[in-house]
Symmetry: C2
Subunit: 242 residues, 2 copies
Amino acid sequence: MERPKEAHAVVKLAVDLVILTVLDGRLQILVVERGNEPYRGRLALPGGFMRPGEDLPTTAWRELQEETGVGPAHIPHLEQVGAYSEPDRDPRGRVVTIAYLALAPDLPAPTPGSDALNAAWVPAHDILAAPTQLAFDHDTIVADAVEHACAMLEHTTLATAFCTTPFTIGDLKSVYEAVWGVPLDIRNFYRKVRRADGFIEATGEKRASDVGRPAELFRRGLATVINPPMLRTPADSVRPAV
Amino acid sequence: MERPKEAHAVVKLAVDLVILTVLDGRLQILVVERGNEPYRGRLALPGGFMRPGEDLPTTAWRELQEETGVGPAHIPHLEQVGAYSEPDRDPRGRVVTIAYLALAPDLPAPTPGSDALNAAWVPAHDILAAPTQLAFDHDTIVADAVEHACAMLEHTTLATAFCTTPFTIGDLKSVYEAVWGVPLDIRNFYRKVRRADGFIEATGEKRASDVGRPAELFRRGLATVINPPMLRTPADSVRPAV
DNA sequence: ACAATAGTGTCTGTAAGACAGTATTCT
DNA sequence: AGAATACTGTCTTACAGACACTATTGT
């Protein structure tokens, strides 16, 4: 693995977080306004550099905690999306970043961190539609992460991570619709969700809303993969048609 | 993205390659015998450190060229598998590695590189069954990469990357069987492959073997995703039953 | 009663798995 | 003719999409 005659690139390693939630029926991403150069004042993904002794997941969890105030109790899973390594992606020098994806239920309003002027949720589709908004190559990272999330919802039970327990089947359907960006047939959705063993678990309780029949409440099941999978039709895509 | 008051970890970035091929009807992985400490004499994945000015894909292609003598002409695609960052994964110090996956048709016998005593194909199942063979955390990387390859064969046309053009449908079936580790029904396989538009393209030629009816020859089609996908049944897995 | 939301049932097409049979070559 | 490999067709079942209907609440 070594080749001592050759120079090794000197790089800094960072982690960037794509924290997704469903708000107002839309998929939203947590972004911060940068307080330092470069890209001061521009929107960017939360993230930070790896510290000595840390591995990447540790860095990711720490940054998540610092930026949103939530830990593993609220976010069941952090998923690695990929590494971004273009030599000129950061004007300060060689910075390679590893992107992580987190699915969050309705979180407390984000509080700005020490190096961020502001923190806010912005709709994912705004970023994907006009990919020149974010600092660095964060637009690309967002696109990759959202596609990753779409794919995960097909095969894993991670959609429940967007919901606060307990949740209704309607809540869960809203998650799929927001992430995939397509309307789903609620009747077929019911059938598929109930057929998938271990996806959701009835609590026996009901939640009354202002009007209409109260909905049954569920909690996450034990399964992590859905069988049969919840497939989007191939034409569906979260990206706006070109 | 910066937090100047805190120390940043000093790490070196490496790329490791999981180069897969199908040989003797089995999925095989290119490994090298290490010529330097640590793990001198142990088997490991080919790989190397990123050099100044390179991004990760460039490093991966360069290492691929150095280790196997083949370039983009033979390997249509390099796929990023993930980052491995445990602080003590390398006894020399902090080394974070990004794993890449390459699917190769029958290559010339691998030639040892400058830092490798030897290079050879070893069956993937041997490594997965006894995950204590390779240096560093390369057993883990192999497991992740093979799983990645299995998943890619379901949804993409990358199985053709294992075949030298032109190939027969029987050749393609052998690829799926070797990677997934399960026997497939050739009649159903024919149907699925021919239904998937743009997967393979008839050349009109035939290949006569020693005995039996000559097989029709095909080349890769233009599609990159298979629709409908070639799904393995959920019970199937390349990993040996526990 | 009526609006609004929650949930069930049915019909139909597509594709998957299982399996029987036909075609083309060489010896 | 027979062996060996290549290929095609059919039957059944499972699941997806589309759509009509019933159930339970509040006003």
